[in-house]
Structure formats: C-alpha cells, structure tokens
C-alpha cells in the first residue's frame, strides 16, 4: 500500500515537473513575442536594484553602526535582499499580482476546473525572466563588495548562504501566499500585492531592528527580516545558529499553514464574479 502511494507521489511529481518545463518554454515564447515589454521590465527591475543600493549607501553615509552591524555589513544585507527578491519576483510575485484580477472577474472558476492543483496554477504560471537581472546585479556587486572589503569567506559560507537563500525564498512565498489567500474573501483589495512589496522591505534591515521594538504587531514581521539577515550572518561568519533554527522552524510552520489556510479559504469561494 505504502509503495503504491510512493509510486503515485513520484508520478505526480514527474507530471508537475513536466508541466513546469512547459511553463518555462511558454514564458520564453512570451519574451520573444513581447520584446519591448521584456526590455522595459529589465530596465525597471535594474533601476529598482540600483535604487536599493543607493538607498543603503545614503543611510550608511550617516549611520556607521546600526544594531550591532557596521555600515558595510548593512550594504551586504541589502545586496542579499536584491539577490533574494530577484529570485522571488522572477518565480512568484508576478503570479500573485494577477490573482486579485482572477478572483474579481470570476476567472478563478476556470483555475479550479483544471486537473492541476490550484495553488500551483496561482503561484507558478508566470515567470518574469526580467527580474533575474536583479539577482545577477546583486550577485555581481556582492562579489565586488566582498573582495574590496577583504571579508574572509570560505566555500562552506558560500554554500550555506545559497541554501539559506533558498529557504528564505520559500518563507517569503509562504508569507505572501497567506496574505494573498485573504483575497478570496476581499477581492477588491487589488493593492494587497503593493502592500506585500512594501512589507518585504523589512528584509532589508537587520533582524535585531524588529526584535528591539518589543511591539507585538512589529514582531510579526520578524520572519521577513530573518529571510535575508540569516544568510548574510552566515556569510559574514556572525553567530547565527539561533536565527538559522528560527528560519527553518518558522519557514516550515508558515509553509504548512499557508497550504492549510488556502484549502480552508477555497471552501469560502462562492464562484461569483
């Protein structure tokens, strides 16, 4: 019986991988069809990446030491943020932008009728290749920054940084998905995604910033600030064991909760546009 279940799971996985390969190809075809739009997106993504760098450079020109982080280390957090948001915005964020329209116009019915998991469809159909430019930009500047500041970084730190960034992307996905799910009850809130882009900004700062407030509503955003600060702490060889544990633990809880919450919310969907 268990072997049968495992085989079914493996078949399911293979099926979704096949579907995702098709999605990748379709999105490449879209780039070739709307080339000007693609270039426009590359431009805007690039300028926002540069803006984040200018932002922290301006702040650290006045603040040399913030919550135990030196100015140059805060720049590393921002570069980590640019890298992680590049990956996240490429794979997921633009899908969520469409969701409020899908719900509001009653198009969600067609999503539910397809023999593919609705969460998969809502989260993965669009890939914004243009947003990867942010990751490339962030990685390039990070390498330059690390070499110009002579940080002692080994192979272990780099691998851990990459793994933790992957965990961070999953956590960011879970946080966004929980918020997005509420659109099933409040379809008019089409600016929810704009709010999510803004609260994502918490990830640009050290986690100690939110911890220091001790205010419950702000402490709720700690998961977001763990997403970037933890990999950067590992990269810079700061003591991060507590944060690594929190990142994995909260990440797992949020990811599971997002799935349960989604299933629960689907029961409230009335199919009316």
């Amino acid at each position: 019986m268990e072997l049968k279940n495992l085989r079914q799971l493996a078949n399911n996985m293979r099926r979704y991988i096949r579907i995702y390969k098709a999605i990748i190809k379709i999105n490449i075809a879209l780039i070739l069809t709307y080339r000007a739009n693609f270039l426009n997106h590359i431009f805007s993504t690039f300028v926002w990446g540069v803006f984040n760098f200018i932002w922290i450079t301006l702040l650290t020109s006045k603040a040399k030491y913030v919550f135990g982080w030196r100015g140059d280390e805060l720049v590393v957090i921002t570069l980590g943020y640019i890298i992680i948001t590049g990956v996240y915005y490429s794979l997921f964020a633009h899908n969520f932008e469409d969701f409020s329209r899908i719900i509001d116009r009653g198009e969600f019915d067609t999503v539910l009728l397809k023999p593919i998991d609705p969460q998969f469809q809502i989260s993965m159909l669009r890939i914004s290749y243009a947003s990867f430019i942010r990751t490339i930009l962030g990685t390039g500047v990070l390498i330059w920054w690390i070499s110009s500041h002579h940080y002692a970084i080994g192979f272990f730190q780099v691998v851990s940084f990459i793994i933790l960034i992957g965990v961070g992307v999953i956590m960011m996905y879970a946080v966004w998905f929980i918020f997005i799910t509420t659109l099933i009850w409040y379809p008019n809130l089409s600016n929810m995604v704009d709010l999510l882009y803004t609260i994502n900004g918490f990830a640009r700062y050290p986690v100690e910033m939110l911890k220091s407030t001790g205010t419950t509503p702000l402490l709720l955003f700690i998961p977001l600030s763990l997403i970037v600060a933890t990999p950067v702490k590992v990269l810079l060889q700061k003591n991060a064991w507590g944060d690594i544990f929190l990142l994995f633990f909260i990440g797992a809880i949020l990811f599971t909760f997002s799935r349960v919450f989604w299933k629960f919310a689907l029961k409230s969907y009335t199919s009316a546009s």
Partner: protein, 256 residues
C-alpha cells in the same frame, strides 16, 4: 456647480473602496516606520527623526498625486480618453477633482493614526509652527499638490507617443524618492545631491511643505518657497499644455 457634482461622484467612488484606500496609506507608513526604527538603532535623536518621517508620511499622502497610472494605462492606452474628449470639460480639471477625494480620505486616515500614535508617544511629533504662518503653510501644501499633480499628468501624457512608459515611471518614482527627502532629511545628503535637489521640483512638492509645517522655516523662507513653487508650477503647466496639444493629435479611438 458641475465641478461640485463631479467631486461628489468621485467622493462616492472613493468611499466605496475604503479598505483599499487604507492599504494605500499603509505603504508610506510602513516605509517611514522602518526608517524611524533604523535611525533609532543608529542612536540618532529619536524625537526629531520620528517627527520628520511622520510628517513625511502626511506630506506624501497630501501632496503626492498618483494620477499617472489611470491616465496612461486606462485613458490613453485603453482609449477611455474618448469619453472625456466629447464632453465640455477640461481633462486637466477632471483628473484634478478625481484625485481630491483620495487625498481627503487618506488625510482622515492619517490624522486618526497619528492621533493614536501621539496618545501613546507624546514626544514623537514636534511642531513649533507660528499660528500666523498657518494660511501660508496651507497654501504651500496646495501648491505642492498642484506641482506633483501637473508633473505626474505630464509624465502620463508621454503615453501618447510611447507604447509602454512603465520603466520610465519607475525611474521617475525613484528619482522623486531620492530628491524629495524620501530616504532621509535633505541636509543629511551629500552636498552634490543637495545641490541637484535644489534644481529639481520634487522637494518643493512635499519636503518643503513639511519643513514649513514643522515651523523651522522663517516667514521670509516661506515666501521664497511659495515663489519657487509658483515658478515650477508655471514651467510644468506650460510643458503640460504643449504635451497635451501635441499628444492629442497622436490619439486615435476606433469603435462601431
């Protein structure tokens, strides 16, 4: 009378989506709150810093226009502009009045939030405004809004010539944030950026309005802010008129 009726209709529309409007308020509030926390961690004078960012939130809500998306995407690209061209009303003023209810509702939300904040943190906001200067400060806010509105509307008119100005809009947003003191107070910027900022209109929209509200600008300084705002407004209105006059020739609408 017709403008009053239109204003009433726009108010109805905005109040129908109150929660949506509340979320728009949360965006600058969240951004500025993180900056207050940041400077707190840097050991800066908390009261002065929080005053600045709280007022920047209010200033931004009151003086920053967001007319560009609707004009560019809906009216020009999707052709809804044709509805206005056939009516005996000015397109500039239609957009102007359609924005007013948003500003009013957001100002109400902001007042409630800041009022609540001041109950818990009475030292978070410091104002030393001379009551006699109040009419002039209100005038500076009105001019600041007009500056932002005219600039954004002119930017949106570029859609008459370009298929997609999304990238340009993003770039302009970033330039506005930097040169209007969105990151930190302008005197904290490097000299070169301060100089550039003085030659651009963006700081005269929200930044100088809130410095006037703080009461740190003497009477003469208030008059010079008004003068520079008027000069910029004149320039932008001229550009706006030219863009509209030429842009409308590029516009075509097809239907059966």
């Amino acid at each position: 009378m017709k403008w009053l009726r239109m204003l009433g209709l726009y108010f109805e529309r905005v109040f129908e989506y109150r929660l949506r409007s509340f979320i728009w308020l949360l965006l600058p509030l969240t951004n500025n709150m993180t900056l207050i926390l940041f400077w707190n961690g840097a050991g800066m004078n908390t009261s002065a810093v929080s005053s600045y960012y709280i007022l920047m939130t209010i200033g931004g809500l009151l003086t920053t226009s967001h007319v560009e998306f609707e004009v560019s995407e809906i009216d020009i690209k999707q052709g809804q502009l044709v509805n206005y061209l056939t009516k005996p009303i000015s397109y500039y003023w239609v957009n102007f009045f359609s924005e007013i209810p948003y500003r009013v509702l957001q100002a109400v939300y902001a007042s409630i939030l800041i009022g609540a904040l001041l109950i818990f943190f009475p030292n978070a906001l410091k104002l030393s405004l001379n009551p006699l200067h109040i009419p002039l400060v209100i005038f500076i806010f009105v001019l600041g809004y007009l500056l932002s509105f005219t600039f954004k509307l002119s930017l949106a008119y570029l859609s008459f010539w370009f298929k997609d100005i999304h990238g340009l809009m993003e770039l302009v947003t970033i330039i506005i944030i930097i040169f209007s003191g969105g990151v930190m107070p302008l005197p904290w910027y490097p000299k070169i950026l301060q100089t550039i900022s003085n030659f651009l209109p963006f700081a005269y929209s929200g930044y100088y309005a809130i410095t006037a509200l703080q009461g740190i600008v003497p009477l003469f300084g208030l008059f010079s802010i008004v003068l520079i705002q008027c000069v910029w407004l004149g320039v932008l209105l001229f550009i706006n008129k030219i863009l509209w006059k030429n842009g409308i020739k590029e516009f075509t609408a097809v239907g059966q």
